[in-house]
Symmetry: C2
Subunit: 227 residues, 2 copies
């Protein structure tokens, strides 16, 4: 059995999350970088051979192709590749992490991604600047969810789903870090998120900084300056 092939681009939030989780888990994998900026995922070959949904991240485990970061995480956990302290096997503890992972798609992930897309990606692709009203609306949607992270998820614990780092924290941090590139500074309004992000980064380094190298570069500030 050869190690899994991991297809990813560190510009993609869930790609970074899995990259950090794999490295922290000490799981060997074959690097298959996919340059989204060059449309490498949009070819017919990619669709046929790698991922029928033409997205990253995805894996190929000795012929078994699987997409969707959270599904990949669970599959590899079931194979014993992810340590229990990152993704618990006991179903009650696992359900707390699952609750976050399922919650985050349509809330934190969606709205941080839309903010990033509106403020950074679309102007780059189209040459058009978004209106102030549109940016404000996107910021409002995002902050409604950052409020929930600050006030509910981080209400009384150091990490999102308890007192220690879990995969939930890594997925969430990667979504929030994306907004740096759109010059959003989450630290200003959210002291708990600020302190939590620092803990997540420390718990995951050096892998966290490796995964975010390009994010730091685009945002024009080093990790120290931001956290």
């Amino acid at each position: 059995m050869s190690p899994i092939k991991y297809y990813y681009d560190l510009m993609s939030q869930p790609s970074r999350a899995l990259f950090i989780i794999f490295r922290l888990s000490g799981m060997p994998f074959e690097d298959r970088v996919v340059a989204l900026r060059n449309g490498e995922h949009l070819t017919d070959d990619f669709k046929r051979d790698i991922n029928r949904f033409q997205r990253v991240p995805c894996i190929n485990d000795n012929g078994n192709k699987l997409a969707e970061s959270v599904a990949i995480l669970r599959y590899l956990s079931a194979k014993g590749k992810i340590p229990e302290h990152l993704y618990p096997k006991y179903f009650v503890d696992q359900s707390r992490v699952d609750e976050f992972l399922e919650w985050h798609h349509m809330s934190l992930r969606l709205t941080c991604a839309m903010y990033f897309r509106t403020v950074w990606l679309e102007p780059l692709l189209t040459g058009r600047t978004p209106t102030e009203a549109k940016i404000e609306m996107m910021r409002m949607h995002m902050e409604r969810n950052l409020d929930v992270v600050e006030e509910v998820w981080l209400e009384s614990s150091d990490f999102l789903t308890g007192s220690t780092l879990r995969v939930a924290d890594i997925f969430a941090a990667c979504e929030i870090e994306q907004t740096r590139m759109a010059d959003y500074d989450v630290r200003i309004k959210y002291p708990k998120i600020r302190a939590w992000l620092k803990r997540v980064r420390q718990s995951c380094n050096p892998h966290y900084d490796v995964a975010h190298e390009f994010v730091y570069k685009i945002s024009g500030t080093g990790p120290q300056a931001k956290l």
Copy 2:
């Protein structure tokens, strides 16, 4: 141990999905209907005692509160309450179902829900009619994902993740049924989805029709007329 308390509103797509899954599984549960239209989920009591995210569906299993439909499904599967033919325990088969469940949040679920909200819910709440351009944009986003269901998920199998009904089909059908209320008829452009929806309904009845009674009523057509 008393049966779980299930908090739901059949106007909510994932509430219907879990309702059908619980009934099909023969799992006893205590009915706790939450009338979203009356804002019953928005009270401080609901936030403190039932679900800190103030949404449905959610459960209380002898004091253990859990939100997020997919997390709830996985928790109850781990407790042996969901039969394997609906949600497999073997991790390779389970990963195929997980792949769909994770995919659907930001694609099928998001865009069907946005179409429903734009065409049906917002006019009801605000009294304002959406512009044709807005409806068209929402329809385009939704159909981009219906195309993926028709051409990729249903490419060569009777159900989304293989030859038999799984929870993935139930979650997906409940999202698509929601658009009926906004007078969208998925059958017109999508023959595979049409035939699949019929199979899902037949496999899940009588529970499917019970769950969709209000949807049929609002859309003004009985299940036979539509499927």
